[in-house]
């Protein structure tokens, strides 16, 4: 049966009309699904018994609990969810002193093949639906305490643009979860056409995976650079009016001896000139078989200090959940992937 969870109010209205129910049923359904705590269609008590029966014949409420959870020594939790295609994704819950963040996955696996990412090692098994993206928020035991949502889990969000935009609509619409888009950040590797569409159709913050300011270096780390070069990505960002509230940030994983030199700082300052932004430095969490290593703490701090001296707001992201493979770049359900049959 098809889930109602993950549908927009317009889609819910169409479902109601198709069942010969009054058009306002769509609004009632959205209210029950996204604003109240029920576990079945039968609990939608302001709908007639007939309406509930008709809906129950073809639909289910549709949000599903995680199938497993691991807890880190630092309090981070990693949840495992199954998808409608009997595949699996992971979601990280990151509690902090003043905020609680959920890190959502958008795809099973990933097509982007970045050299430093564990998710990429499992290849690509499919896109998540908007409902499956939203489910990673709504079905967490901690969902009411969540303050921030980041689309930085498994997959490239803008490679699944339609479902990501739909999930953002449901997160932020008054009839949906009514969350502020300023609490939501969507990360991308820099798929330019999709990034423009995301900027145009959403108000959520943008984070771009940068990792080196040099084109040739970036293409060895991130194959997407072959198709959508950084200069083009930055050109689009530079020409976009982000307004006062919307934020663009650049993710920068530090690799020892590769992208942590003063030359990199200088080039970063040059290419980001004119963009009001922040750089998030990320400690690299080694993955099996990788030739890359993390620099030592002194180098990380020195890199940050140099960027700050160049006038770039720079933060160092705390590594969370490393002991349960929940930290940045470590999410993977490879062990649960069925072998494919391709040549």
């Amino acid at each position: 049966m098809e889930p109602l969870f993950g549908k927009t109010q317009d889609e819910l209205t169409q479902i109601a009309l198709a069942l010969n129910l009054p058009p306002y049923t769509g609004r009632q359904l959205a209210e029950w699904i996204y604003k109240k705590e029920i576990s079945s269609i039968e609990e939608m008590t302001n709908l007639s018994r007939k309406a509930r029966s008709l809906l129950s014949n073809s639909y289910r409420l549709g949000w599903l609990p995680p199938t497993n959870v691991q807890t880190s020594s630092d309090g981070t939790k990693k949840y495992l969810f199954s998808t409608q295609q009997a595949k699996y994704v992971e979601t990280a819950f990151i509690p902090e002193k003043n905020r609680n963040t959920v890190c959502l996955s958008t795809q099973v696996g990933c097509k982007m093949g970045c050299l430093f990412c564990m998710t990429g090692k499992q290849g690509f098994q499919g896109n998540l639906s908007a409902g499956e993206i939203l489910n990673q928020y709504r079905s967490l035991p901690e969902w009411k305490s969540l303050t921030n949502i980041v689309y930085m889990g498994m997959g490239e969000p803008l490679d699944n643009l339609d479902e990501v935009l739909k999930s953002l609509e449901i997160f932020t619409a008054e009839w949906g979860f009514a969350l502020s888009p300023r609490r939501i950040t969507v990360s991308t590797i820099g798929i330019t056409p999709a990034m423009i569409e995301f900027l145009d159709r959403s108000e959520a913050h943008l984070a771009v995976s940068l990792h080196t300011p040099f084109d040739e270096e970036r293409q060895k780390l991130m194959p997407i650079q072959q198709i959508y070069p950084l200069t083009e990505v930055l050109g689009q960002i530079r020409s976009w009016d982000f307004g006062r509230q919307r934020r663009v940030s650049f993710e920068y994983i530090l690799f020892r001896g590769l992208n942590d030199s003063p030359g990199h700082v200088k080039e970063l300052a040059r290419i980001l000139n004119g963009i009001r932004c922040r750089i998030n430095l990320i400690r690299f969490h080694p993955i099996p078989g990788t030739p890359l290593e993390s620099p030592d703490e002194n180098t990380i701090q020195a890199f940050k200090a140099q960027l700050v001296r160049k006038g770039i707001t720079t933060t160092i992201r705390a590594s969370r959940g490393q002991d349960i493979y929940a930290a940045c770049g470590l999410l993977s359900t490879k062990q649960l992937v069925q072998p494919d049959r391709d040549g």
Partner: protein, 221 residues
Amino acid sequence: MVTAHSHVVTPVTLSFSEEISSGHYLVGFPRQFEFRAGQVIGVSLQEDGPRRLYSICSGEKDPEVWILYNVIEEGYLTPRMSNLERGETIWITEPRGSFTGSREPAVWIAAGTGIAPFYSMLRSGLSGEKTLIHGSRYLEQFFFYDEFAASLGPDYIRCCSAEDDDHVYHGRVTQYLSDLGSVDPALIYYLCGSAQMVVDTRDLLIEKGISFDHIISEIYF
């Protein structure tokens, strides 16, 4: 608000569309632009329709541009595109991409239709001092076999995972590379295929001592 040149599309009229093996098609249209072998173009069926990127398969100086693709049954574009005939219109973007060939000695590694950029390089005169390792599930999917064999001779290696034949390695590309005693760390390795193929092959090459900065990858995005 922002003009993205990647959004600019141009209509072109198909000069042919041929199913060259089961579920695999080659389409062509007159060349109206310059490109570098290995580059991609966006293809859509309507001016504002969903667009997918495909490697150009023909040579830089060929009068036509060719695209090789396989039909993804659950996909939007390819099932429809496979029904198009000569004279019908598709929409294309400008060529883009830096997965381009060179005259330097190199190893080309492809899976399935990932052979397309290498065929373009071959037709553009860039096949000197190259080794090609091509993996396919079936023998009929070694596209452009005759030309690769004629140009590369023993440096053209075919890996077939589902069928056996003389002079064809039985197994996947990754298995072939695993079985190889050593690989030359001085060469550049160009990989083109699915995400899984590229990632597995890259890991294997790194394990065999190839520096990651000698590996250039193109994934079907």
